[in-house]
């Protein structure tokens, strides 16, 4: 999968608006929400009335799906990659979670309210059972956050969550406090999967990772590394027994092999389908292709530290004028994506379709190159970790061809993301670097910070004006004022042209519709089987 999420999921600075909108929580579980608060304590009653069908069928109801990579860990405190986080969503529950479209909904919490800007009060549902039969209480939530925070702890999520702590009030009521006011607390809590205190203390972390116990809809059965994971339905799940008996997750790294496995009927659902395979899949009557716009943006950074022509503003603008995003989305991606003008994606807060970026204008681009002193163009290197981006190599070559039209010759070099992260740190990335940024976030704060801020992880630019705007963006709490700041930021990015925003990606998945009735990919790119429904 793509680089950012495969390393760890991105931490996000989420917006107050969203939070305030749902301050008194859990109002809208949404159609895809896995919990229904009104029925939380009846474990056998099924909210949608399919329980009788489940009882009437004697055969095992198994859903098999294929992922590109294996999970890293079964300890949610180490769950950094999107694939691992997806698995955690099936095995564990958290206070709140998100639905397929990224709305916050209650999970183990019955309700919550914000007490002050650093404190939330949560009430847990009663009678939530872990897979070993013990009950989930405030103490387990406290234990989860305490262990992450410990001085000597080395959990991979430590720096993401160590600003949070839990103060139990009683068995079912607790406060979640943050060291600083933090607008993203609720969204982050989706990743704090609650672990059973007594069990983990008894067996230790290593054994816990081997035999994990959570309170989610599925129980862990076995893990064969880089091969398969088997889960089975948890009968006493507080949200009602899942509609399927068994989930098998297979690891199939090769894209063609995933498609073959789906066609052969060995797996029911596959993710990360590339556009090149859609045609052959759509030709098959029993296969349904489903897509979802994600939070992943694909763009080029231009290294302003390098001794290359892109240091010149006019050259950067020329490059922006030379690239025809719509043609790339339509021609290379077959329309599976959305061209973007700034780093703001259409679903983000702060997105404003009145903000126009660079239109395609090769004459203007040539003129600017001439003004910059390159009437005959020049040659530069273009790099990227193309295998990590769906159709990445084709997009890079299409961009190369468009740049050639205005006289810029590119040498297109593939690198692994690891090397490129070192290059970003050392400020030695190629003049043009293709990268993608995605994960659980929904506003422009995070992406602009990480991609353009001085000294940030994926930034090849340093600008004090921008850094000032970034600060303003984070600290402006008033909604209308903040929207103004967002406009200002986006206009500044367009004026200074440190990046070439290309497009927002679509996640393409496919399933066997003779077996699966409905299943949906998610905006945050996770693959979760909690709500999958089998065909009759």
């Amino acid at each position: 999968m793509t680089k950012l999420k495969s390393k760890r999921f991105v931490v996000f600075t989420l917006l107050m608006t969203l939070m305030i909108g749902s301050l008194y929580g859990c109002a809208t579980p949404g159609s895809t929400g896995k919990t229904d608060p009104t029925q939380s304590d009846t474990t056998t009653a099924d909210s949608s009335g399919t329980g009788s069908e489940a009882a009437g069928t004697s055969g095992e109801k198994t859903v098999t799906y294929a992922q590109t990579k294996d999970v890293d860990s079964f300890d949610p405190r180490n769950a950094t990659s999107t694939i691992t986080a997806s698995m955690m969503n099936m095995l564990y529950s958290s206070l709140v979670t998100t639905d397929a479209d990224f709305n916050i909904i209650c999970d183990a919490a019955e309700s919550y309210e914000q007490i002050d800007e650093r404190t939330y009060k949560f009430t847990l549902k009663q009678g939530i059972k872990f897979h070993d039969g013990s009950e989930l209480t405030s103490e387990d939530v406290k234990y989860t956050l305490d262990t992450i925070r410990e001085e000597e702890a080395t959990y991979k999520l430590k720096s993401d969550f160590s600003f949070m702590s839990c103060e139990p009030i009683d068995e079912y009521n607790l406060y979640i406090k943050t060291d600083e006011p933090n607008v993203s607390t609720l969204l982050r809590l989706n990743y704090v999967k609650i672990i059973p205190k007594n069990y983990v203390e008894k067996v230790g972390d290593e054994e816990f990772n081997k035999h994990p116990i959570g309170s989610g809809p599925f129980k862990f059965v076995e893990w064969n590394k880089d091969e398969s994971i088997k889960l089975e339905a948890f009968d006493d799940y507080f949200g009602g027994k899942p509609k399927i008996d068994e989930v098998i997750c297979k690891v199939i790294p090769e894209a063609s092999a995933r498609v073959a496995a789906l066609q052969a009927g060995e797996v029911d659902i596959i993710g990360a389908v590339s556009t090149s395979q859609i045609d052959s899949l759509k030709g098959m009557s029993d296969i349904e292709v489903v897509t979802k716009p994600t939070t992943r943006a694909v763009y080029f950074t231009m290294n302003s530290f390098s001794d290359s022509p892109v240091k010149d503003l006019k050259v950067r603008q020329a490059i922006n004028y030379a690239i025809q995003k719509d043609a790339i989305v339509a021609g290379v991606l077959d329309g599976y994506g959305t061209a973007i003008q700034t780093l703001a994606l259409p679903m983000f807060e702060g997105y404003d379709d009145s903000i126009k970026g660079y239109e395609y204008n090769p004459e203007k681009a040539r003129e600017l190159l001439k003004e910059a002193g390159y009437p005959d163009g020049f040659s530069i290197e273009l790099e990227g970790s193309f295998s990590g981006i769906s159709n990445g190599a084709d997009v890079a070559q299409a961009v190369g061809a468009q740049l050639a039209e205005i006289g810029i010759k590119t040498s297109i070099v593939e690198k692994d993301s690891n090397t490129m992260m070192d290059e970003y740190a050392a400020q030695t990335t190629s003049p043009l670097t293709m990268w993608s940024f995605g994960g659980p976030y929904n506003n422009i704060n995070l992406i602009t910070k990480c991609v353009l801020g001085t000294g940030e992880r994926y930034s090849a630019w340093s600008d004090t004006v921008f850094d000032g705007l970034k600060e303003k963006m984070d600290t402006t709490m008033d909604e209308t004022q903040r929207l103004e700041v967002y406009k200002e930021v986006q206009q500044y990015i367009i004026d200074m042209a440190p990046v070439v925003p290309l497009y927002q990606t679509d996640l393409i998945c496919a399933y066997n519709k003779t077996k699966i009735k409905s299943w949906s990919p998610r905006t945050d790119e996770m693959m979760i089987m909690n709500d999958v429904e089998l065909a009759e």
Binding site: N224, E254, A264
Partner: protein
């Protein structure tokens, strides 16, 4: 020189070679970067990364880091895999059965096809059979593994539904990856055996044997094949050691949980300890295979003295 002394000497040399390889890999990995950046989230600043680096000991001189690694390794502690947060040795050991299974089965396929094909081809030199075998052997060497693998998958799994597309659960899932790897090795063995046997069949002592009135099959098997084996053995040894090192592409195509995929992932994740252990495992495997090949050389061809 006695066998025991020879083996002892080779053992010491091999240990030195294994040390050599650990040093080289250690240096190479360190040049390629450390895993600290992958251990922290995107929002971590460079300062936090630097602090972590200091804490983990990545700022120490390389020699200090190496000695620390070596000291721990000699005490049986191969460190922890950053990716899995488990003992690195255990991670590698878990993959060895899959790798060995695939290596052995593909080598068996290669021998079963390659040896008879090579012999027939040599004996019936320039016949139609020979031409067919040679053409097939050439083809077998021209097809890239990922291409052959996906083609077989489409045919046997998707169209005919005889075999599963991938996985490591049943014996039937072993067949396609073994064939993918075995075909190339079989082709190599066929060609090597054919050319060696033709060369030997043209030698004078074969004429002498013929003159002595020895039967045709006796000559082919006892003289030509036996003598041709030494060059074939080299090829087999080389192929087998590279199979044990994991066949990254075949493993990727068939989702085979072997060492090759683990190695690539571990390099991507800078999971140093896992890479080191895989390399040490490969080094030992190769040393042992070389041993066996050397000894077999002598058994087949007693004129070669052990040295």
């Amino acid at each position: 020189m006695g066998m025991a002394k020879y083996l002892g000497k080779r053992f010491i040399q091999s240990i030195i070679a294994v040390f050599g390889i650990t040093i080289i890999v250690f240096i190479v990995l360190n040049i390629a970067g450390d895993p600290v950046k992958l251990m922290l989230p995107d929002t971590a600043s460079y300062q936090e990364i630097e602090e972590m680096r200091q804490k983990m000991g990545y700022n120490d001189p390389l020699i200090v880091q190496y000695l620390r690694f070596l000291g721990n390794a000699l005490r049986g502690d191969f460190g922890t895999s950053y990716k899995y947060n488990e003992p690195a040795l255990q991670i590698v050991l878990e993959r060895i059965p899959a790798t060995v299974t695939l290596a052995v089965s593909s080598m068996m396929i290669a021998l079963v096809i390659g040896i008879p094909a090579g012999m027939i081809s040599a004996v019936k030199r320039n016949s139609i059979t020979d031409t067919v075998i040679r053409s097939l052997a050439l083809l077998g060497q021209c097809v890239p593994a990922f291409w052959l693998g996906i083609m077989m998958m489409l045919l046997f799994a998707v169209k005919l539904k005889w075999l599963p597309t991938s996985g490591f659960d049943t014996w039937s899932s072993l067949l396609m990856p073994s064939l993918t790897l075995g075909v190339f090795t079989a082709a190599t063995i066929t060609r090597m055996l054919r050319s060696s046997m033709i060369e030997i069949l043209g030698k004078e002592y074969i004429d002498v044997a013929k003159a002595k009135g020895l039967g045709r099959y006796v000559i082919i098997i006892k003289h030509a094949f036996k003598n041709a084996l030494s060059s074939v053995m080299t090829v087999i040894g080389l192929q087998f050691s590279s199979l044990l090192g994991g066949a990254v592409i075949t493993e990727t195509v068939f989702a085979w949980p072997g060492i090759g995929r683990l190695l690539v992932q571990s390099i991507e994740n800078s999971d140093f300890m896992v890479v080191e252990i895989i390399v040490i495992f490969m080094a030992f495997a190769i040393v042992i295979i070389n041993f066996i090949v050397d000894i077999l050389y002598c058994l087949i061809n007693p004129r070669i003295k052990l040295q």
